[in-house]
């Protein structure tokens, strides 16, 4: 599904190298987790994959189902099936949440040469999916993320993911700012989307999210590289001993 090779990235405006050769291969239907200390490059990886400006790729490649991602505009990546659930979802005053979702769904359908959804069909689908995430009609009418609580913002991200039905989902610290109940709700939303044709990359600091979203593979990232890869037990090891032991062992 996703294949990253030797990815090197620096900040565009300063000579700061952040990713120093990331290699990662995620198969169809797999759930991978990336853990790592602050500043290891986890969020940068998610931004570079989704096409945020401000980063310069100096070497390497990233392909989604064989298609080179790094050459594409952000909207083309989305249409190709990539989705990033933001760590900090953006507030957009003046744009209704429902309008936003419908514009996005139809833009992607159009880009893929599919017919746009009618207002009625769209409403039916969105109501059903919103209900599962406990998103009420009022939240759909409000401007995108404006005045939403931390939990509401994250649930709104998962709703977008459910509506857009991407192939490759990246969750960037989706657990940050969530209480236990909200984390459960969000995880259930994610688990409902697990599918043989859909892969996930879950970026997190803490093991507890992985109790709910069970990964197939866990990677540890440090200083711009993936330094260790293992099964779910690796996350537990981090939880018990911290990163220091693992990093010491690697270095």
């Amino acid at each position: 599904m996703l294949e990253i090779k030797n990815l090197h990235v620096k900040l565009e405006e300063e000579d700061k190298v952040i990713l120093k050769g990331v290699d990662l291969k995620i198969g169809a239907g797999e759930v991978h987790a990336i853990m790592g200390p602050n500043g290891s490059g986890k969020s940068t990886l998610s931004y570079v994959l989704s096409g945020k400006a401000g980063y310069e790729v100096t070497d390497g490649s990233a392909a989604l189902e064989g298609e080179e991602l790094l050459e594409m505009e952000p909207e083309e990546r989305a249409a190709a099936g990539l989705f990033l659930a933001f760590q900090y979802p953006v507030e957009i005053p003046g744009v209704g949440n429902m309008t936003f979702l419908r514009t996005a769904v139809n833009a992607q359908r159009k880009a893929r040469g599919e017919e746009e959804l009618s207002a009625g069909d769209f409403l039916k689908v969105v109501r059903e999916k919103a209900k599962a995430l406990k998103i009420d009609a009022d939240m759909m009418k409000r401007p995108v993320n404006v005045g939403f609580s931390g939990g509401e913002k994250k649930r709104n991200e998962i709703l977008q993911m459910a509506m857009l039905e991407p192939k490759m989902c990246i969750l960037d610290e989706t657990d940050s700012g969530l209480d236990v109940d909200a984390m459960k709700l969000v995880s259930e939303g994610v688990n409902a989307l697990r599918d043989a044709g859909r892969s996930f990359l879950v970026i997190t600091h803490y093991q507890r999210l992985l109790d709910h979203i069970k990964p197939d593979v866990v990677h540890i990232m440090a200083d711009g590289r993936i330094v260790k890869t293992g099964g779910p037990e690796l996350a537990l090891e981090v939880e018990q001993n911290g990163y220091a032991d693992i990093l010491a062992e690697v270095v």
């Binding site: 909207e75 989305a78 979802p89 957009i92 936003f100 996005a104 880009a111 401007p143 977008q160």
Partner: protein, 427 residues
């Protein structure tokens, strides 16, 4: 003194070719206006009130030429609205293109045809003259003195449909002065629509008197001509419980100065004045507003939004004056601009002057670029860059459009705005 002399010389040159109508009910009002005008002269570049907008092209003897815009397949705004149409071609009433001036709840007559006695003699030039203090507005006084065309509308009940003033522009050299008087009697209700570029140079005054409990709605679009110039004034006076709502959409035009002078004289009245202006390149748009609260518990709201690109200039001068005794005044003013590049400019001068101690007044003015984080967020969800930018621009304008009364009219305006964005994207 030299400055005043220059202003008076400019006036002499400007009015040399104009005739002062000497008969009919308006003659003494015009003579009086000319006396006031002669004392003031025309606005000059050094006037504080014209600090951000050069009045020269509005005051010179001959109007700078402007090619009329030809509509191709695009429908004019308000086409699908059921309305009474009054058409002016280069500032002259065109009976053939206009509807019959009969409308239930409304009396309509033409300034050009009014005889020796008319209800408008209590209004013509009266609100304009009141609006001359504390700031002089000579272009409006010039209008009172020399306008020969315009409509006189009196609403005595609820108007059966909107009155739609359509200004067509045919001649490259047209230099037009129109003066409208509108009286909304107690408890009556009227909607006035205005659209069209009008002329190469347009000087328009609209005086609006709203009696107790009267309601007046005004929605205006200022035409597509690229070269046109316009100076417009709305003078409104509100009695107790009256309502005044005005919205203007401006797209294109070389120079536009829209002044609104609103006075509360009765308690519990409401006045909203809003504008959305979208400009590209040599576009200069100036919204100048002066609201006087001289009664209790009145609410005023000013909402002005501008989207500027490729060196376009936007100006906002807005003042709220709360007189002693105008307790419980609620005044709100916001002026914002979205600059789509580094060449465009927004100049704002918000002012509050308050002499009552129990009031709520707020004002804010901002100018900024498109929110890059929001743009990326939209794109990451698959919305193409241009569509995402349009969505954000419309979102920015939404607060001003929300001031339009009536969803059909608001939708019509929204479509105009979207068309403009489509035409101007990427340029």
């Amino acid at each position: 003194m030299a400055q005043l002399q220059a202003k008076q010389d400019a006036l002499s040159a400007r009015i040399a070719g104009l005739d002062l109508p000497k008969s009919g009910w308006s003659a003494p009002l015009r003579a009086e206006a000319l006396t006031r005008l002669s004392a003031m002269g025309l606005p000059g570049k050094r006037d504080e009130y014209w600090r951000y907008t050069d009045p020269t092209s509005l005051t010179v003897a001959e109007a700078p030429a402007a090619a009329p815009f030809t509509y191709s397949d695009e429908k004019m705004v308000f086409t699908d609205i059921d309305r009474l149409r009054i058409v002016f071609v280069d500032g002259v009433f065109d009976a053939a293109q206009s509807d019959d001036l009969a409308l239930a709840g409304v009396e309509i007559s033409l300034l050009a045809e009014a005889g020796d006695i008319h209800w408008a003699s209590d209004l013509y030039g009266v609100l304009e003259a009141r609006g001359q203090t504390p700031v002089q507005r000579p272009l409006a006084t010039l209008n009172t003195a020399f306008a020969t065309q315009g409509v006189l509308i009196r609403a005595t009940g609820k108007a059966a449909k909107p009155v739609s003033l359509i200004y067509l522009h045919k001649s490259e050299a047209s230099d037009v002065i129109l003066h409208h008087c509108i009286k909304v009697e107690a408890g009556a209700e009227l909607t006035v629509l205005e659209n069209g570029p009008a002329a190469a140079r347009f000087n328009k005054v609209m005086e609006v008197e709203i009696a107790e409990g009267g309601r007046f709605h005004h929605i205006r679009t200022q035409g597509r001509d690229h070269e046109r110039r316009a100076a417009t004034h709305i003078f409104a006076r509100l009695a107790a419980n009256a309502l005044f709502k005005s919205f203007t959409l401006t797209a294109n035009g070389r120079l536009t100065r829209n002044e609104a002078i609103i006075e509360f004289t009765g308690d519990d009245a409401v006045a909203h004045v809003a504008g959305a202006a979208v400009g590209d390149r040599d576009f200069h748009h100036d919204d100048t507003v002066f609201i006087t609260h001289d009664a209790e518990r009145c609410e005023s709201r000013q909402v002005f939004k501008k989207v500027l690109k490729n060196g376009a200039v936007g100006v906002f001068q807005g003042k709220i004056l709360v007189k002693a005794g105008a307790q419980k005044t609620d005044g709100y003013q916001i002026s914002q601009s979205l600059l789509l590049d580094d060449d465009s400019q927004f100049l704002a001068k918000p002012e509050l002057e308050i002499y009552a101690d129990d009031v709520v007044c707020s004002h804010g003015s901002t100018s900024g670029a498109i929110d890059e984080a929001a743009l990326f967020y939209l794109r990451s969800r698959g919305v193409p860059e241009r569509a995402a930018q349009s969505l954000l621009v419309l979102a920015f304008l939404a607060e001003a459009i929300a001031e339009i009364e009536g969803e059909t009219l608001a939708e019509d305006i929204r479509v105009r705005m979207e068309n403009w964005l489509t035409r101007h994207e990427g340029k």
